[in-house]
Subunit: 470 residues, 2 copies
Amino acid sequence: MEKISVAAARKPEAIGKQVRLQGWVRTRRDSKGGFSFLELNDGSSLGNVQIVVDGTLPNYESDVKHLTAGSSVTIDGLVKASPAKGQPTEVQATQLTVHGGADAEGYPLQKKHHTFEFLRTIAHLRPRTNTFGAVTRVRNRVSQSIHQFFQEQGFYYIHTPIITASDCEGAGEMFKVTTLDLEKLPKRAEPGQSGTVDYTQDFFNRPAYLTVSGQLQGEIFACSMGKIYTFGPTFRAENSNTSRHLAEFWMVEPEMAFFELTDNMELAERFIKRILGDVLRDCAEDMQFFNDRIDDSHTILATLQGIVDKPFLRVSYTEAVEILEKSGHKFEYPVGWGRDLQAEHERYLTEQKFNCPVILYDYPRTIKPFYMRCNDDGRTVRAMDVLVPKVGEIIGGSQREERLDILEQRMQEQGLVPEHYWWYLDLRRYGTVPHSGFGLGLERILQFITGLGNIRDVIPFPRTPGSADF
Amino acid sequence: MEKISVAAARKPEAIGKQVRLQGWVRTRRDSKGGFSFLELNDGSSLGNVQIVVDGTLPNYESDVKHLTAGSSVTIDGLVKASPAKGQPTEVQATQLTVHGGADAEGYPLQKKHHTFEFLRTIAHLRPRTNTFGAVTRVRNRVSQSIHQFFQEQGFYYIHTPIITASDCEGAGEMFKVTTLDLEKLPKRAEPGQSGTVDYTQDFFNRPAYLTVSGQLQGEIFACSMGKIYTFGPTFRAENSNTSRHLAEFWMVEPEMAFFELTDNMELAERFIKRILGDVLRDCAEDMQFFNDRIDDSHTILATLQGIVDKPFLRVSYTEAVEILEKSGHKFEYPVGWGRDLQAEHERYLTEQKFNCPVILYDYPRTIKPFYMRCNDDGRTVRAMDVLVPKVGEIIGGSQREERLDILEQRMQEQGLVPEHYWWYLDLRRYGTVPHSGFGLGLERILQFITGLGNIRDVIPFPRTPGSADF
């Protein structure tokens, strides 16, 4: 008796095999002929396998006739070609064991339409639905593509720290991490400028935070191991209750020694194409589901395939501003050299002007962080953003400033204290090299791939303002 | 001109190729004949490639003769068979570009012995040393083995949450996560039993913590997707300043529906063997280094190969206690049925009694958590620990209690409030299945593999009491 998955039992190759299947009943339908049909799912594929249970089974009346949606079973049986349309196989049960029932009154996942809002309140059960099963499989596939893409090219996977004591001046809002008893905060004997709390009593002897990016630490490893990437959780304490923001999300950040901005762009383009190509090939059934059932315009498959097939456009920030200014399009936010681009501008470029992904590069130095490499024009830095239709910016990156004196000058321009970054500056003091990197938010690309409107639906347990359930 | 890695240039297959190499100079040695030898490393392998630079190069006097350890260079040249012993190839440079020097006075990594304690204070430079380059490559390889092992068997990679509001009663010490201003903590209008701080002003409207385990959330996905694993950061706020504890570490936690304890043991054994086998095969040079230069007894290679080759022993807790009691060995901590085993007991079993990994199972229910499945004897639960020589427990796991009534009873036994676990109990209410899982600490197995005495040396940026540098 071979134990196989539902996905395997649905394939014509399985026909003729005696198999054991284990999973959850999605539906039961009793036939007048004294037998029943079960739709069984075990998470291995979107589609179920149909189980035919004959009335002659000893526990047919006692067990099978009481099976409800959500019940768990082990089924032994023979895989046969199915006479029904749309499924190559079905399984004729020879034995059925019930592990656990699911009270039809109480079970929250009844066979009816549930809103995504409701399903978020039962995040412990939503992976049992078609949509969230498909999200789980696609998220898994994308995560593996990330590892495979970088590993095949000799990158090392680096675990940058989650808890950080870096000042991170200028970064986004951060969560504090502490072991102090908030009911009985220790006070400093002599209060100083920076407050009265005595952090020498805290776990790390100083204020500590959750990381907003592993980039700076990633640069440490690029400047010794050559090519590296991080892939881990990242945090923002911004009070943004939108469909595009999470307080906790997963980010990929490659960092490469001896890469200039054009190498960085080339890598980012291949990276996106690899992820999309893998998903289209290996999650075909799930992607068809997203195309047909989630995306109102039913264009996901065509859009993703188009991105895999066509080269990305490369447009300088300066050119992009000219295009926007000459467009005659009425934008809510003003366009002008030196201003940051808004989502509406990015969407105009990718959706209306070019209808393909665009890599914008060479942004004004005044609107970009200190670590981006200054161009000789004195006005721009070697930044790049990859924009895709519908989602906008999906990757942000840059060549890093490798010249010590210019880096220190940029820090001072932005009001940062170079001494706080002594180790980061050391990388420029000792054997500095041109290097580049970028960041991709896993949930952003999953929204793009699945067409799901709310980012809370592409992560298992979303953390947002007021919500840290499960 | 093909850009290749130092690792590739060291292989005989490279002989005859015109190549470009980019990396950092480890040493320079000038020959009386008017040429120089450079040892170049780029992170791709433990060993360097030797570069021969002829005095006829235009920048020989101006650049090459000033190269110091840590300088970064690009070298074009021809790969040749090396006349020197111990290296199959060398590279005859035709062009050399210096990117950045490294002041010989200031550069902390001089060619002398540095203690691991000192290197921890320059964690931004230590990946440039042989030991930490090797640790980085082995850590990367192990991380990939983890993914490959589970993916090949149809497991899904699940990202369980880092920030959690679960009460986690009875778990280890936890870090608090907050956005409250500790200098101006908001107070509740009507102070209640649980304190005066007004958590409705906090980001999540309640106290929140850093996770100590993804197991309970992993069970959610096992009970829908079948077989899953987590691999992510985990936290303990225990004030343990030892060579075996980190406040932040990476943990792997597989969780499988329809797995009983014996299936769990079998998976754990194959998992350990797979990781060790991959590292021995793919990191041979690095492992030889750990064997010869890190492990005082020079037995790492033999030990790991022995573990790959031989079956693990399975011994019940009850048998183990009998063995220890009859051993005649004088232990510091008393042995007796119902007491937890100490490291000295575990080491006696794996090192002196059996000299191989041992899986202990069926522990007393009084010393194990509520979620472990009760055996019919009324005294034991289906727990298992995998013990290995020198390190002791490397994996802990169990079959989970899938029976709702017994689980609730166990919670009450241990003083937990079942209502706080409503969603966890729902998994037993609706389609409950036998299931099992275990946890492996990445840094523990890396200590075992590398022989490094201090766990702070197998993670890029260790977090320990009083220390969150870089």
